[in-house]
């Protein structure tokens, strides 16, 4: 059985009455790795936040469905339990709650009551994932993201990805602020997820990440829309030539959206 299908149609999203997304269309299927690229301020992170249900963003038009179910009707936690995951650019620091306590609660949230993961099994799975991501085991006993370095936070997001095993994951600038070693580890984690049942939308403005993760599809966002789509070769061309040629091709002066002039 192939994985889930996340379908985004004509998505318009506003924050504080300012329209950021102006009609995004994207379909992500199980087994597919999509990269969304584009300069800063073009609406990439807004797309990620709107899919997950960030409280500050308002969807004004269009639809998001997961296997035909209306995602926009779901609460944030329901979206997660339906199979969506967002690795956040700026994860919250939750004081007093250990990373392992949180992970276990999150894993159990997806399971039926009475079918909670046993402590032994949880520790085994967590330890394996920590080793795989070359994370110090002490992190599990530290408070969630509190005092974590930028790199530790990103690894922690990928740790959650590995343990929660979503159907569709959106990774919002998972590569920003990482040194090359950390980037390799994070990429290794993402690649480990690659199966026919897992689809992902990787948001980045650096081609660098795509040296380690090969996307099946590459999309470029400007002015709150997907303006160009292609295969991995598109990323290579962006790396070599930047975004100017796309702007020229499409007659775009200012690629940003919703920014103060």
């Amino acid at each position: 059985m192939a994985g889930s299908v996340l379908e985004i149609k004509n998505l318009h999203v506003s924050i504080e009455d300012k329209e950021i997304l102006k009609g995004v269309n994207l379909t992500i299927k199980g087994g597919e790795f999509h990269a969304v690229m584009g300069p800063n301020g073009t609406g990439k992170s807004t797309l990620a936040s709107a899919i997950m249900g960030h409280p500050s963003y308002e969807v004004t038009e269009g639809s998001i469905t997961l296997d035909g179910e209306d995602v926009l009707e779901m609460e944030v936690d329901e979206r997660a339990r339906a199979g969506l995951f967002l690795a956040m650019q700026y994860p919250s620091e939750i004081s007093g709650v250990t990373t392992s306590e949180f992970l276990r609660s999150a894993m159990n949230a997806r399971r039926e009551e009475g079918d909670e993961i046993s402590l032994m099994k949880f520790i085994k799975e967590m330890d394996e994932a920590l080793d795989f991501l070359e994370i110090d085991k002490n992190m599990a006993q530290r408070y969630l993201n509190e005092g974590f370095s930028g790199g530790e936070k990103k690894r922690n997001e990928i740790l959650q990805l590995l343990l929660l095993k979503p159907e569709i994951a959106i990774l919002d600038e998972i590569d920003s602020g990482l040194d090359i070693d950390a980037l390799k580890v994070v990429s290794k984690g993402i690649n480990k997820m690659r199966t026919d049942n897992f689809g992902t939308l990787i948001i980045t403005h650096y081609q660098r990440l795509l040296n380690y993760i090969t996307p099946d599809f590459v999309h470029v966002m400007m002015k709150g829309r997907v303006v160009k789509s292609g295969g991995p070769e598109l990323a290579k061309r962006l790396e070599a030539e930047g975004y100017e040629w796309i702007k020229e091709e499409l007659g775009i002066q200012d690629e940003t959206v919703g920014q103060e002039a």
Binding site: A80, F85, P91, I94, G96, A109
Partner: protein
Amino acid sequence: MTVVTKLPYDKDYIAQFSSDRNEPEWMKSLRLKAYEQAETLDMPKPDKTNISRWNFSTFKHGTEGERISSLSELPVDLKAFIDQDNLPENLLIQRNESVAYRALSKDLEDKGVIFTDILTAVKEHSDLVEKYYMKDAVQIDEHRLTALHAALMNGGVFVYIPKNVQVETPIQTIFWQEDPEAALFNHVLVVADEGSELTYVENYFSTNESQATVANIVTEVIALDNAKIDFGGVDHFAAGTTTYVNRRGAAYRDATVDWALGLMNDGNTVSENITHLIGNGSSTDMKAVSVGRGKQIGNITSKTVHFGKDSVGHILQHGVMTGSASNVFNGIGKIEHGATRSDAVQESRVLMLSEDARGDANPILLIDEDDVTAGHAASVGRVNELDLYYLTSRGLKRREAERLIIHGFLEPVVAQLPIESVKKQLTSVIERKVQ
């Protein structure tokens, strides 16, 4: 302002109470003098809380409680305080005004450790108790409630750790107000002599939802030179008990008094936790968490007073308010002239869970010395929406996410309590209170 409330017990009663217990003369005269002072002293005036209508006069004094022969006789609520897998070696349970159970390890007894109820200590260790009782830490005439406390003192414990004795296992007390109307005028006196160390943990507990009574508690915690005291406490009086609890530390040269207090009373409460950093190099780490629910009104003060040079005082107060509870958190760092290079830092945070609840955080720094470091942070707010978003984005239901955040918020004290059962019990009290 004149005092209008009539004292419910008179001088003859107090004299008789003292005689019945064969108290030494000093204690009897201290009580009688305190009673006279109580008649003229004003009530305390906690900042931003009006306590003039609180019940401090309806209560029953002189209520005995039966002994128990084994810990298994305890009701289940009290059993929860005790580590069942690892029964405490050093435990005192006070039932109303009587000692229901007492254990002290042979080892500590041999080393000269004293751990006994205060009324016995007054007789058996008269000189030692007299030396410290309401002298170094709390004064009898601070206000009407301290004087009343001294006059009517009817329970508590005395702990004395001799010089250079390190107590490895915690000393635990449980104060059980079993009778719904019994008043606890409890006095806890902990003295750690030079170079000694101990961990002390106490629980207060009652179930009187509607019957009114009073808890008037004075706790003096004295760490002599180079001594270290870890003090843990969980107060959980039911709604009927009005509480005044004054926990005062005095730290001499290079001494440390650390506090972890869970303030879980459901009745109106004034809690004052003050540490006097008397000696050079003395320090205190004061942590208190509280949960207010129902109509509870609370006034919670944590204060460090720096006299010694290089003294360090850190305060953390976290409060969660539900229902229509209203709590004020005062954090005070006072550095006296001459306390050079002292460090006074405080943090007070209040988390509001309902529209009708009220919370107030007052950070105060009073500094009379130039060469010091000091800082404060205070906030009153709701559960952060972005934190909830993050947690729910992993599949946790909103309620479960809130629960985690609240527990995390109160964790600083829970984590520091040295007895696993007390920790668990506090966690479950928090769980029930924030539901």
